[in-house]
Symmetry: C2
Subunit: 388 residues, 2 copies
C-alpha cells in the first residue's frame, strides 16, 4: 500500500564510470573546516581547443550529476541534459568542450557523506562537513585549474546549477566569459527552505536513517527518501502541467476503489518518482545538498546588496526563467537581472512561456533552446571562437 | 534532530465535551457499505428561534472540528472560528443558532477509524469504510432532521468545509436558504491530490503506523503524521506570507550552524506545526478525510456539467476566494460561480485581496468579514429574520 523498499540489494551498485581528480591540499570550506583529501568526479564531452577557450562548465541541479550527455550508470536513462547537449545540439560538443563535475557532498563519485573518510577509514555519514554553494564552486575551480583552463567560455546550469553559475560569476568574474543561470535564484526563499525542510524531516523520520549511520548497518531510509522526493517533485511541476498530464484520470480502473491504493494516475506517478529515486540517490547527500541551497544568499556575502556581487564584471549574462515555474519564479530571476542592471553588467533576460513548471529547464522547449543558441552564437563571435 | 514523538502519553486524552447523536438506522455510504450504528458529535451555539429559521450549519475543514467558538478540549486553543463566530460577531450567536458537527471519519467524537466498531468490539482502523464528502453531508442531514430544522438559514464553511457547503446545496437545495463556500473548489485537482498523497505516504511510511493497526499496539505514527502536516501546512500559506513572517531570519542565533538543526525560523515554525498537530489528530482519520477530499468532484455526479448540480436552486450563494490562495485558487472558486451563473442561480462572488494564502479564511480579514456580514444581513432580511 505504501512505497516499498528499493529493489536493488545494497552494495551492488555498478562502478561509476568517468574521470576523477584527487585533491590532496587542504581545502577550506565556508564552515571553517579543512577538507582533505577529497575526490572530484567529472565527465567531459568534446575537445578542448588549442586556445583552451571553448570550455563550457555545466553545473548540475540538486539531484543531477555529471552524466549530462551519456546514460546514467545506475538507471540507464539518457543523460539529464542530452536533449540540449551533444553533437550538433545547442550545447554542441563538436564545438565546445563540456565539463560537468558531481557537486561536493554528492553521491556520484565526488566526496560526500556516503564515502569513506580517509582519516578514519569509516563512512563519513553526518560527520561529513556541511557544505555551501560557494564550496561547490571553489571545488569546481580546482578542477578548472587542473584542466589548465584560464577562462571558461560559459558557465551554465538550471535550478541549483544556476545558483552555482551566479556564485562563479560573483567569485571568479575574470574566469567566466559568459554565464547562463536558468530557472534559479540568488537566495533561497522561506518557502524554498520550508519545502526542503519537509524533505529532510521525512528522511530523518525514517527509523532506517539510523541518525545518519545507515550504511554501517547495511540499511537505507528508502521510504523517507521517497516521501522527500514526492514532496519535492510536486514543486518541479506546475498545477496546469499536472492537470494536463493527469487531471483526475484513474489508474487502470473504471471507478474509484474506496481504498488507499493509487486510484488516480497522479498518485501512481508520484509513487513511481519516489521509488525510482531511492535507487540512484543517497539520503544523506539529499540532506547536505538541500542544506547548501538553503544557505545560499549571494547578497548576504556582499553587504546585503546583490548588485555588489557583480560590480565591474565583464561577464555576459543570459538569465532565463519560465512563466509557470513557482519554485524559482520569474520574480526571483528578475531580481538577479535588476542587480546586474544596477551593476551595469551585460545582461539579457528572457522569460519563456510554458506550462511545464520548473522542470521546463530539463525539457524540449523550442523557445528556450533558440534563446540559448542565439546567446551562445553571439558570445562565441565576441570570444573569437571560429567554428568550421 | 528530527521531529520528536508527542509528549502526551497514549490513552490520556481528556473526554471530549459536547453533544452526541447516536444513529442506529443503517446509513448507506457512497461506497455501498452500510454503516450502523454510529455517532455524530456536535456543538451548538446560540438559540434556535421559535420558527426554527435561524440555524447556521458550519462545516469544518480537513483538520477542523466542532469546537468553532469554545476552546479546543485537547489543546486549549481558542475555537478555530472564534474570530468570526460568537456573541456580536459576524456569525452572531445572539442572532443565529450555530451548529457544527465533527465530520464522519473524524477523530473528535464522530465515528471514525480510531473508534471501536460496535459489531466486533475492536478498533475500526482501516476496516472503517472509506467515506466521501457526500457521506459527511448526509450524516449532517440526519443531525439537522433530528434537531427538527426544516430549512437551514445558512450553510457555511471554508476549504473542505466549502466542499460540504456545495454538496449540501446540490443534494438538498430546498433545505439551504443561503450557502457560503469559502476558499474552496467543486473538485480536487491533480495538484491537490498529489499533496494529499504525499501526506498519506508520509504516514504509511512510518513503521509505527503498523498497517493502520497502531492503536491496538499502543503506538502512534507521530513522525509520519508530523511530516504530513508540515507538507500540508506550506500549502496553507502564501510564498509572500512566509517571506513576510520569516524571510531568511535565523532562529535564536546570529549565524548559521553548518548543521541540520532548525537554523531558520521557518524550519522551527514548521517543526512546531508538525509536533503540535500529532497531539490532537489521528493519523488514520487524516488518511480517510484527505481521501474524501480527493474523491470530491461535484460535476462528475451530474453528468460532468457542474451547472447541473445547481439547476432550479433557490439558494442564495456567496462565493469567497482569496488572491494569494494557491491551494484552492480564485480560478477554482470562479468555476463554481460560472456554473451557478449558467444555472441562473442567485450568486455573489468576492475575491479578497490578501497575502495570507489559503489560511486567510481562518484569520481576521476585515474585507472578508465585512463581505460576510453584508451578505448575511441581506439574507436575514429576505428570510424575514427580525432581530431586536
Amino acid at each position: 500500500m505504501s512505497v516499498q523498499q528499493t529493489t536493488r540489494p545494497l552494495g551492488t551498485e555498478p562502478p561509476l564510470p568517468g574521470r576523477r581528480l584527487e585533491i590532496t591540499e587542504p581545502f577550506q570550506l565556508d564552515s571553517g573546516v579543512d577538507l582533505a583529501p577529497f575526490t572530484i568526479a567529472y565527465q567531459t564531452y568534446g575537445r578542448l581547443n588549442a586556445d583552451r577557450s571553448n570550455a563550457v562548465l555545466v553545473c548540475h541541479a540538486l539531484t543531477g550529476d555529471q552524466y549530462v550527455v551519456d546514460p546514467h550508470p545506475l538507471t540507464g536513462q539518457p543523460g539529464w541534459w542530452s536533449k540540449l547537449a551533444g553533437p550538433g545540439k545547442v550545447l554542441d560538443t563538436d564545438r565546445y568542450f563540456l565539463i560537468c563535475a558531481n557537486v561536493l557532498g554528492g553521491c556520484m563519485g565526488t566526496s560526500g557523506p556516503k564515502d569513506v573518510n580517509p582519516a578514519t577509514g569509516e563512512t563519513w555519514g553526518l560527520s561529513f562537513p556541511v557544505i555551501t554553494i560557494g564550496d561547490m564552486v571553489r571545488a569546481q575551480k580546482l578542477l578548472i585549474d587542473h584542466l589548465g583552463i584560464e577562462t571558461l567560455f560559459c558557465v551554465i546550469g538550471g535550478s541549483m546549477g544556476g545558483m552555482q553559475v551566479l556564485q562563479w560569476a560573483a567569485s571568479f568574474p575574470e574566469r567566466v566569459f559568459a554565464a547562463v543561470p536558468i530557472a534559479s535564484t540568488a537566495r533561497h526563499s522561506a518557502q524554498n527552505i520550508a519545502f526542503h525542510e519537509v524533505g529532510r524531516q521525512a528522511i530523518m523520520a525514517d527509523p532506517e536513517w539510523c541518525a545518519g549511520a545507515y550504511l554501517e548497518s547495511d540499511r537505507r531510509p528508502a521510504r523517507g527518501l521517497a516521501v522527500a522526493r514526492m514532496a519535492a517533485h510536486i514543486t518541479y511541476l506546475s498545477e496546469r502541467a499536472l492537470h494536463r498530464k493527469f487531471g483526475r484520470n484513474l489508474q487502470n480502473r473504471q471507478a474509484v476503489t474506496y481504498g488507499f491504493d493509487a486510484d488516480f494516475q497522479v498518485e501512481s506517478y508520484l509513487r513511481h518518482q519516489g521509488i525510482t529515486f531511492v535507487d540512484r540517490f543517497d539520503a544523506n547527500s539529499y540532506l547536505y545538498i538541500t542544506r547548501a541551497c538553503d544557505y545560499f544568499d549571494l547578497a548576504a556575502e556582499h553587504g546585503g546588496i546583490l548588485a555588489n556581487a557583480f560590480r565591474g564584471s565583464k561577464t555576459r549574462f543570459c538569465i532565463i526563467s519560465f512563466t509557470s515555474d513557482w519554485l524559482y519564479p520569474t520574480s526571483e530571476n528578475r531580481a538577479v537581472v535588476h542587480a546586474l542592471n544596477a551593476a551595469a553588467a551585460n545582461v539579457s533576460f528572457v522569460e519563456i512561456e510554458t506550462d511545464k513548471g520548473h522542470d521546463a529547464f530539463l525539457l524540449e522547449e523550442p523557445e528556450f533552446f533558440a534563446t540559448l543558441r542565439g546567446f551562445l552564437a553571439g558570445c562565441a563571435e565576441h570570444r573569437g571562437l571560429a567554428f568550421a
